[in-house]
Amino acid sequence: MTEPRTGLPGLRACACLAALLMGCSSTISGTPSGGSGASAGTSDGTAANPGAGGGSSANGGSGAATATGGTGATGKGGSSATGGTGTSGSTGTSGTAGAVVDPTDAQCAAQASGLNIGRSRLARLTRTQVAHTLRDLLSVTGNLTDALTPDQSVGPFASNALAEVTDLIVQQHQELAAKVALDAQSRMASIAACDLASGDPCVRDFVGKFGMKAFRRPLTDDEVTTYAGVFTVGGTPENGFRLVIEAMLQSPYFLYHADVGSTGAPSEVPVTLTPYELASRLSYFIWDTMPDQALFDLAAGSGLDSEATLTEQVTRMLADPKAKDAIPLFHLQWLDITPAQLGSLASTQPELAQEMIDEATDYTNAIVLGGDGLLGTLFTAPYSYPRSGTLKLYGKPEPTGFQPGMQVMLDPTQRGGIFTQPGFLVKHYRGDEQGSVVHRGITIRENLLCTPIDPPPANVMPTALPPAQGTTARDRFAAHETGTCAGCHTQMDPIGLAFENYDGLGRYRTLDGGVVIDASGEVLDSGEDLAGAFDGPVELGKKFAGSRTVGNCVANQWFRFALGRIESTDDACSLKAVHDAFAASGHDIRQLITTLVLSDAFRHVRAIGAKDTQ
């Protein structure tokens, strides 16, 4: 029985169910289907992921009884795709086996409406976003936002785009606002920058200036009047000052990413973001916090309209220390290096779990921000940045002058790239020696190859056979190779079993149950550039480094992280541009980030989805 993974998009693409329905056995055959459409009416549209290859066509899912069907996804490895049984589905183009099929340049140029993007939801700031914003807005330190109810997620990434608003979170934000405002009171002179005791114009001036930072856009006159009224109720300047802050930090314009667009009203057609909204989207993407003065100044002067300026800003922002908050946030969530995925390790050995997270954070920053920025390097670098605990897991003695977080070269026969770091290897830790074959396979399959896997049939309750002398995990998992299990398990097990040289905590071992471990693996049904056997995760890293398939999936994950939503077929042209540029640059992540920022999807917003993307 595996523990829950939160937040993956709902649609499955494995041939498992189809195989079961057709009574097929050990190989994937028949028609791969897109997942089921979301249920009636008010559903949030998630794109059907392309069907995993092998079949001759991919169908979009059918909606529930009264719903519109999901849009048919492009057939992967198929010859055609039909839309779901909803009002409209798009016909996919034929694909080469295993490749994610982008539309052509001609198709994108010919789009009837000029440009097309998927629609966004109104997202409340995440806990880290609130913490970082308060740090930059009011120099707030400490972990005040830990007490907020946990975020939900979109894909693997923390996001409250779809989270319900409860009385509790409203109250918690009220408490947080009161605390922060009270603390700021002693710094009134430096924050207000004029003498509030003198009344107007200072009061209105303070409300306008502070409000502009709090709401991340200039206030209207009416809004200034409202908050100046709050000041007045305070009686004294100190009290009034405190109340204005306490109020603004509870406003939805502080708490939500209010990407309304330049028309000021919700639109079914994509509209440009206002310069302030673009500045905000940019800063939360690259820094996980509010814009700085430079970005606000550019927004005020409409400087962010130009691609050249945007590109300059991305470069500047990636070089800023604040990027070290957001960039690892992407990578660690993408790779399932989070307390939830670490299983019981996070709660029973919190210091070691934190070391694993810190090591992966430093590694990511060193390569993506400080190094060559290449995806391939992430997958293959022969060094890491361990702490004392994780150094022990590597089986290395502490080098002289060791400091936690310094670069340490690792044994290239055993380690190389992110896949061999303890943070990645520890998945759903259960307190024993065994690593999770299934969960390591699932992370690779779902997060790195973007092909979700169907669950087992409802009546199957998997109980792992216990380790025993004379058997390896491969032997114990042999039952997955036969019958109806194989359809899905061939997607995961041949990958997960290749990690067996690393135990439950990521320590290297050659024996399991006294038997020499066979770490051969294969990524089945994922296209030409991943075909062929490999031995162990170091080789898997090298395989992934050069893969267009992986590159496209990584780009899509960045899209989800940046925009807080799963890509829809309406985003296909934005994504195509990103895929192409990423590949052309040799999978340069910093280049990817720039291309994403310049894309239609990033610079526009669409609040209302057309019926076929519901």
Binding site: M1, E3, P4, T6, L8, G10, R12, S36, A38, S39, D44, A64, R121, D146, A147, T149, P150, Q152, S153, L162, A163, E164, V165, T166, D167, L168, V170, Q171, Q172, Q174, E175, G229, V230, V233, G234, G235, N239, L243, A247, Q250, S251, Y253, A258, P266, P339, G343, S344, A346, S347, T348, P350, R430, G431, P455, P456, A458, M461, T463, P466, I608
Partner: protein, 476 residues
Amino acid sequence: MSRHTRRGLSRRALFQSLGLSAALSPFIPLLNASGQEAKRPKRLLIFYSPDGSADSDSSAGPIDWKPVGSETDFTLHQIQAPLDPLKSKLIVPWGLKMSAKGAGEQHAFGSAGCFTGSLLKEPGNGADFDGGNGHRTGWGSGPSVDQIVAAAAGPNCPYGVLPDAANQETAYRTLELGVQCGNPTSVTRTIYKGDDQPIHPETNPQAAFDRLFADFMPPTTDPGGQEAAAAAAAQRRAEQTSILDAVTKDLGKLRTQVSSEEYPKIEAHLNGIRALEQRLDTMVPTVSAGCSVPARPAASDRYANNAKFPTEVSAMLGLIPAILACDLTRVASVQLSSGFSNVTHTWLGQSTAHHTMSHQNADNRDALMAIDNWYAEQLFGMLKAMDEIDEGNGTLLDNTLVLWGRELGTTSHSMSPWPVVLIGGAQGALRTGRFLDVNKEPSAKLLVSVMQAMGIDDAMTIGNVDANSGPLTQLT
């Protein structure tokens, strides 16, 4: 600021009319309009502990925890034995089949159904979670029994006024508490306001304490002090009102700028603001007999710390008698851990997580029973404290109905018999001190009985799994 209790005058009006100061309040019973002692109201408390009763995937079968003996003369099984000193105040209904079904697997739809009798839905409306083994689910589809009871009003209900009435009797209509409940998914939430409306519990004991008890006023004899306190309260009320008005205005403006799909979010946010506003008007409790401020819990860690689980449980449960006795709310729930419980009970000498042990290819039934026994001990500690508070018409425990439930029947995912216990009896609404063989009856009947016991006299249905079940008549 006037407030009328269900049966009498507000304390403040009473003090003013009697010319008494707040200092004497511990000695003034709650009197009704004709000077007779008004009955303390009924309370409802849901207590959740994880998983089902012990079974072993690899062995001869689940434990039989059916109490041994006759209806009124019985011995509790080990998993409930710590409740023995309160045997006369409890009922063990053995054999219920959980009214829980739907998407995902049993931990998921059990969580969605155990207190709601409602289906767990397929993914949709943006809700999409792993409901176990990769099965995707949405949220549950109906309110939990505590929310139903809290939304009602009537002479036998906890509340006499409806939820949106101007003069609320308590600062909180309901309180949802928990300890290390995990990220929000269909497997970790058991309390629902309604369809697609899970309620997330407060899981930080110190934050809960600060929120609930920070405003408690120690009695003061100094009239100047009383005046100052009143003035400060009035100022605070004016400040908060102006803040909440500004926020409400912004929410209204934002609503015109977003798609209609977002209206439920805005509406829910407005409801949260209204709840804050309503609380401005509710009288702050004063420390008095039966209502004393509990110890302030220690801070929690950033992430769930297994070693601190027992302390946090103890701290959170330690708040509840005071929460109820001080009338901060009359309907509450406390969820300890969640489905797929990752808690490793090292303090019981165990080294594998609760849920992991339930599916190992080994017989872990002894260890699993020890875990249930431990949860029963924690529950007993709280119940005992409640039973030591004299409310005039019985103890706080007598005035309360406590429902101890879980999301499964057995650890091997059978949905029956549901290991449920009822303690307290809600002012004699249920006949306690009994064990009932109610084999195969749907749990919806028990939940309907809870509704009836809590004053919704004509309740006959809950949820959509076993709708229109009627009550479990053997309980009364």
